[in-house]
Amino acid sequence: MTGMNSPHQTNRITGTHVKGGGRVDRSRPVSFTFDGTSFSGFEGDTLASALLANDVHLIGRSFKYHRPRGLLGLGSEEPNALIQLARGNRTEPNTRATQIELFDGLVAQSQNRWPCLKFDVGAVNQLFHKLFPAGFYYKTFMWPASFWMAYEHVIRHAAGLGKAPEGPDPDRYERMHAHCDILVAGGGPSGLAAALAAARTGARVILADESTEFGGSLLSEDDVEIDGLPAADWVAQVVAELRSMPEVTLLTRSTVNGYYDHNYLTIAERVTDHIGAVVPNVPRQRIWKVRAKRVVLATGTIERPLVFRDNDRPGVMLSSAVRGYAVRYGVLAGQRPLIVTSNDDGYRTALAMHDRGARIACIVDLRTEPDGALVDAARSRGIEIHAGHSLVGSLGRGRVQGAEIARMTGDGTGLNGAVRRVDCDLIAMAGGFNPTVHLFSQSRGKLTWDPERFIFVPGTNHEPQVSVGGCNGDFTVAQAIKDGLQKGVEMAREAGFTGRKPAAPEVSEPKSTAERTLWLLPSTRPVGHKGKHFVDFQNDVTAADLKLATREGYRSIEHVKRYTTTGMATDQGKTSNVNALAIVSETLGVDVTQVGTTTFRPPYTPTTIGAYGGRDIGALFDPVRTTAMDGWHRENGATFEHVGQWMRAWYYPKKGETLRQAVDRECLAARTGVGLLDASTLGKIDVHGPDAAEFLNRIYSNAWLKLGIGRCRYGLMLKDDGMVMDDGVTTRIAEDRFHMTTTTGGAAGVLAWMEEHLQTEWPELKVHLTSVTEQWAVASIVGPKSRDVLAKLNDLDLSNDAFPFMSMREGTVAGIPARVYRISFTGDLAFEVNVPRRYGRALWEAVMAAGAEFDITPYGTEAMHVLRAERGFIIVGQDTDGSVTPSDLGMDWIVSKTKPDFIGKRGMARPDLQDPHRKQLVGLLTEDPNEVLPEGAHVVADLKPQPPMVMLGHVTSSYYSPNVGRSIALAVIKGGHGRHGQTLSVPLVGRSLKVTVCEPVFFDKDGSRKDG
């Protein structure tokens, strides 16, 4: 298929006017649909340029009033043409038609209209516009609060910007970390020059531009020559040189969208969006996270709309955009354009359109005596110029069909002549240019108001960076390139490179004369009376809304912004902020700087959540840590639970068993026969050095100096405030070496805590700490028959005399070198076998085989919890919460009275911690032995029909205990130690339970079972 027989595109420049052929590939037609209608464009088009080529101006409806809207801009500044792209779960709302590259089969839909774009029910909002003044949400829906739900339902249906997909996003997104010497944001004339100058020094350069190709504004100009070449050819030369340099990374379709502390920037790269189809294994988008030694901001400018009556009608566009569509895309946005301008730049648009075959309706110039080369060029082409005129308002239904113009008074505040109607199909607004200072502002740079030119320019920078070209207020190509070359080489030098500034090229471009800035074009009536003067197109904020806000007393732009919502739409006020600020300051009669400026925040343009998520989804969302025995657990039907990042076997149901049945069986086996628990996840720390015992003596609340070699001891770790922080059993392996265990969740924190004290408080102690958590796989053989099982695998003397409780022996188990600890977390006889991780599964299988004749029962974390609760053993973090002391737990026995100091000793001595009414650990028994209290339930003494009630504390652990034959619970209760025997209440939803307070031990109260 060739361009010859592709469908006709009304506004595509053809024939003798091929001067404006544009940068689209006319040999590659592309078909697409918009709201179900098929259209044709060319490769290289954006959706916006292709729609214009097909004379489609009506592209969306506005947010609040549902007014018909068309394209305003050319790039990321576009506030109106928001598109719902694609279908199904790939659909994406709020994409800007100006940034969507056309591909064959593209499916686009307008947003914010119902039932269809041309006839929109919501447009009746316009008739009731008095109901939608500034602050309308605040005024209308604040009372009564209970009605908000009803209001919201209606508002969400009527408003809303596009629709989110409902299923998982099928596309792939990635992240890339990068470092560079110089990051250049923006690939227009100044950015290209800066990148080139920096790259020639050998620096690592990243150049990113949000468009499909580098060149920026130069791609939209036909009247600029650089070193005798058309501007676009100079661009191609520079890009070719950059591309040949290995240390340069060139990123197109890549928006530098965030600028954070210490020159950390994010770039959103659209990798395959322009292809349309899913490319296997290649991301749709990629977020670059860049640390740059120096940053060059070359983000250019955004043209200001002019504020006049009904300036939002489809066919009212920014002048530079109109020129861009003509020069870059070969599309005439209108056949009979009217240009309204405050400056010479509007004339460039008039000339570009005229020279491509458009009939210029007229130029309405706000200036009274325009002159200069561009004005002369327009006159010489016979273009009608109305100097000192205002554009009173646009006319037309659905799109521009004409305009009203009139001569202004000398001061530009009113009209001074009859209103005349001019026929036109396009109004191009040239209101001057604003430097794009968003990234500079994001990086905490201070903006300066230039009162001569009415623009914000970068003032004091906060990060090591520089702004060049348009975003620095330098609006000529010559200056942009010269400055870019200079700053590029300066930044490279600051980054440690040497090099000379390349010679600046000769630039030929039109010269501009003075402009005349008017923030609000005078009309026949005051603003707010008939017709609307839009300032913020995306959020439907008018000049009248801003004036109303000032009448209601708002003074700071930060308040006006939130009250009127100006600048708060997804475009962050790219085209509206300065106009809004100026109108507010003019209305208040104060200087712009007194009204303040708003702060820009990332991202510069809306970025999909998927891109930020990257590959952190599904199985890669968060690591799942498993033990050496995990495979066995899976093969044998275990059910799992998450414990932090660990996945632990929860229980091992036999066919048909419920959780309760399985756990009951496991708990009984561990007390009557033998059970086997995978305890590998416990934290383990090797504590070594001549001062190891002294160190433990300071870290734990009990005494450690005299612990014998091969003996184990339980310890509580406190914080200096006296609260329990962690617990575990620590064993003396040698005179100068201990093997410490911590809770599963506390492992990393305890190691860090101990390192902190060694490094900062007690550097004189000679102790080394090494995490050995995963060096060892741990199988706990538990129960009266555990000795019989272990005896089959081991030739150690396992008798109570030879291998007493709380001791450790080294030997082999099933032929595997092992450390066996006689410690117990159930109170029954138990052996904890530690082997190098690689043999964990072999050990487990050997124990299961040896235990078969004793009906050995693997048990999971649920039974582990029940078994320890039966004996009243606490779990730090479940029965404690950082506000519980050893005394609160009834564990005074583990607090040394004789050590002069340990961490927590002084804290515990505070009077508050001696209070007998503190929350203390107790047991709770329900009236009905089968009723299991919910964990977290509150306990009260004085039960009332409904809250509030005085709460005494809460249930921390609660289970059904098959060994006790009833439910058991642990709780922390105010003054609990003195309440044993009392009856309290636990209020639940719709009912309450009576509980009896008891000692927190339910089984083997004398602890006699530990020796089997």
């Binding site: 990635e174 992240r175 890339m176 970390h177 990068a178 470092h179 690592r204 294994n281 290649v282 996270k289 640390r291 590959r615 952190d616 199985a619 890669l620 968060d622 690591p623 799942v624 840590r625 498993t626 033990t627 050496a628 495979g631 990042q645 660990w646 090797d686 070594h688 050095g689 001549p690 000679k766 080394h768 090494t770 995490s771 050995v772 958590t773 995963e774 060096q775 060892w776 032929g815 595997i816 070198p817 190098p836 991780r837 690689r838 043999y839 964990g840 599964r841 072999a842």
Partner: protein
């Protein structure tokens, strides 16, 4: 000990060796290297001399550098901490090292089971790693003879460059091994990967 009973955390994860000959990335598990954590005082000459005598490798003094001789590498982890990575003949290595530093305040801990080591090689290896490794791997910033500790995606890792191909070794805890392998395979998707 019967090595047939030893299981790596990556057994059943990596799949069989092989894959497309033109794959851009080769992932290999370095199975059970001997890993010894070493703590001591760098400024203590006796400590340094002892280590060198036992290992035949000079203790690296500069942060995040590696000393290597044949199949022995010593990675700097902290001003008083190193990781010895040894393959080949390792019989008695730990005992020799312990003996050599027994006269000074020093600690040797066997961590051979506490880590899993994955090698990633290929023309695109750097790019694959940079998807989840925030430190700069550009040759001007990182090369053979250097190591670093940070996170590879969500797993704490020790990384060192082992060849100019480029090739790297990633050392992670065994409980993070499957995640790390899966992550590397996923990140390699656009270049294809082969299991070495």
């Amino acid at each position: 000990m019967d090595e047939a009973r030893a299981l790596s955390a990556l057994d059943g994860v990596t799949g069989h060796s092989g894959g497309a000959w033109d794959a851009g990335i080769v992932l290999t598990e370095v199975r059970f290297p001997t890993l010894l954590n070493l703590r001591g005082t760098a400024a203590d000459a006796a400590f340094g001399a002892g280590v060198e005598a036992a290992l035949g490798v000079v203790l690296p003094a500069a942060p995040n550098t590696v000393s290597q001789a044949d199949e022995r590498a010593v990675l700097w982890l902290a001003p008083d901490e190193w990781l010895v990575v040894a393959t080949g003949e390792v019989e008695g290595l730990q005992g020799n090292l312990e003996d050599a530093v027994s006269g000074v305040f020093a600690t040797v801990v066997d961590l051979s089971d506490n880590y899993v080591c994955i090698r990633i090689e290929g023309a695109q290896a750097r790019r694959v790693l940079q998807k989840g490794w925030t430190l700069d791997l550009h040759p001007r910033a990182f090369g053979v003879g250097q190591c670093a500790q940070s996170m590879l995606a969500h797993a704490g890792a020790i990384l060192r460059q082992t060849s100019d191909v480029p090739g790297y070794e990633v050392i992670v805890r065994p409980s993070f091994a499957k995640y790390t392998w899966d992550w590397l395979v996923d990140a390699s998707a656009e270049y294809g990967h082969r299991v070495g």
